[in-house]
Symmetry: C2
Subunit: 362 residues, 2 copies
């Protein structure tokens, strides 16, 4: 079992990774909930699959108040947040109450936001149930809900007290969800941890079969890479944007498709291919672009739908991470060598994008 | 003109206090807005009285986008926050945009919350237009909106980049509003700065006449006292609760009255009288209780309406600042000697409350 710590301006997040964690939860995490009112937020699907699993974790709570949000991104609405806050007030929630967010990345985002704003912030324990959330969404304190047409546009930084990544939960994950989460691990590995990249290349078959013993070190490695980046730049003032590799085009693709057809990680995979291509077009070396093409190719991603280049260019300009000074691109100068730059010729982006959309794998 | 700094975990707030500040705004604050998209949030009443006043402050902005919320506490709703966020997204707001919250305490609370959650936090400049907001609400990073029946129950800590307290704006303030704000200054003075308390006792007439030259040092003194407390305990883990003096019963009175009949500061004044009485009943010295009775008596507060003791006791137990371990009382052991304690016999509170409601000034 892996144990990591993330030190942030407000304290420390304990992160545990391993198979069977919920059945035998770490004592320090159980103690965080002991004697408290614990709001256990989940979704219908997660409760159906794993409803009894958090039992040992919350066994010491003074009382457990169950909260529910819908499955998927639809839960991340102001209306849902408002309803949950009203339920928490009605149940007598206090500043020393706790919230456990038990679900996938959308639920972790929502739960973090709801906890972060309730009575100006109560502690949240993140229990991510998808690979995407275990390697990325649940770690680092980003929380958010969506406005119509503007994903993640309302939120705050609110670091969890603890993150429990029980890789055994991934056994019930649909293969497409596993693949989508793995893309985020590949993203971090390719720029930040080449040993992890080699491990993923070597163990891909067992990873996609959700073998918990093989998944555990991959989740732990990706979590460790993310922790290092977040510790260096908790407020995303600079270096943390390295985690945005593949997301500039990826977000634009998701928005253009109305968040249908491709999963988040699938769109990010295409975004990574494009960023790598752009780096090569600016004179970077070809090795990472080729390794990514090979590795992502083995994931058997859904095909990239037909998309309109001007629409994507316009959506990228409106990206949440854009500033008034323009977009910051994360381009790989080579394996393990991320480059953050505003200095990318828009004409080059437009030309490369047209070629990319015709043949993303070329 | 007074210049203070508040150092908090995320940086520093520049606080300026003085007459005519908006007409001749400090250069460092103007620079914070220069070249940016500036969202200027205000209310119909403030725009009518002082619509042109922020002109020099935002003169260097790339563009100014006006936003409006209703006057008073009603603005602090999730619906209003949601509408403002949608307007900000539609106007192309970015992470390096700024929000200027130009209005009274409710608007400062709302504006801080809206800025704090927009794209996970943009910088807010607070320009408080009431005495209450200048000495208290605009300083210290507390932001909030209300849920039905639960004031300030949703919010976050989001410190402003700067606070401009232009005491000339107080000339148009209704006398009741001035009195209500002065109560918060008396609250801080009586526990934290006895020189300021003496100044208020000596200058009360000119203060209530809104003389800017007399108001400026009072606002600056109260702001300085608040800054010291917030710097020592930014997250309100302990010592910052000293600012809650008078608010335990005060909040309960406001809730019981449905936020009608008494203004916030008026209810807090009664809360301070009660806390001082409770301290005396526990063996504390009588000096501060008597000084408060004399000074608050000179404010000619509206009479305390008839209230039901058990209802107030129950409301105090549900206070937002209560924890599962119970209420923390702020009791004055004497002038300048605050005591924070959970150790107050509920039977004593009930008995003293009954006597107090019969004769608050006795």
């Amino acid at each position: 079992m892996g144990a990591l710590e993330l030190r942030h301006p407000g304290g420390t997040t304990e992160i545990r990774v391993g198979p069977g964690l919920l059945g035998d939860p770490p004592e320090p995490v159980v103690r965080r909930l002991a004697g408290r009112t614990v709001f256990l937020l989940s979704t219908p699907r997660v409760r159906e699959l794993w409803g009894e699993a958090p039992g040992p974790l919350v066994a010491g709570a003074r009382r457990v108040v169950e909260l529910s949000a819908e499955d998927g991104e639809g839960a991340k609405s102001l209306a849902t947040a408002g309803r949950l806050w009203e339920e928490m007030i009605a149940a007598g929630g206090k500043r020393d109450s706790r919230l456990v967010a038990f679900g996938g990345g959308s639920l972790n985002d929502l739960g973090g936001f709801v906890a972060g704003c309730f009575l100006r912030g109560i502690e949240v324990v993140q229990v991510p149930t998808t690979l995407l959330a275990q390697v990325d969404a649940a770690i680092g304190g980003k929380t958010a809900i969506d406005l119509p047409g503007a994903k993640n546009s309302v939120g705050l930084f609110h670091h969890p007290g603890a993150v429990l990544a029980d890789v055994s939960l991934l056994e019930t994950l649909p293969p497409g969800e596993l693949r989508s989460g793995l893309v985020e691990a590949i993203k971090m590995a390719s720029l930040l941890d080449l040993d992890l990249l080699e491990r993923i290349e070597a163990d891909l078959g067992a990873i996609l079969a959700a073998d918990p013993e093989v998944l555990a070190p991959v989740v732990e490695g990706a979590a460790r890479a993310k922790v290092r980046v977040v510790e260096a730049d908790p407020g995303e003032a600079g270096w943390r944007r390295v985690l945005n590799f593949g997301h500039t085009l990826g977000h634009a693709i998701e928005t253009a498709l109305g968040y249908r057809e491709l999963r988040h990680g699938e769109a990010v995979a295409y975004g990574m291919l494009f960023a790598a291509r752009l780096a090569v077009a600016r004179g970077g070396d070809r090795e990472l672009a080729e390794r990514l093409r090979r590795l992502l190719g083995r994931l058997e991603l859904p095909e990239l739908p037909v998309l309109d280049p001007p629409a994507l260019l316009s959506l990228m300009g409106r990206d949440k991470k854009a500033s008034e000074k323009g977009l910051v691109w994360v381009l790989p100068a080579g394996p393990g060598r991320p480059e953050l730059t505003r200095d990318v010729d828009p004409g080059l982006v437009a030309r490369e994008l047209a070629g990319f959309l015709r043949d993303p794998w070329g």
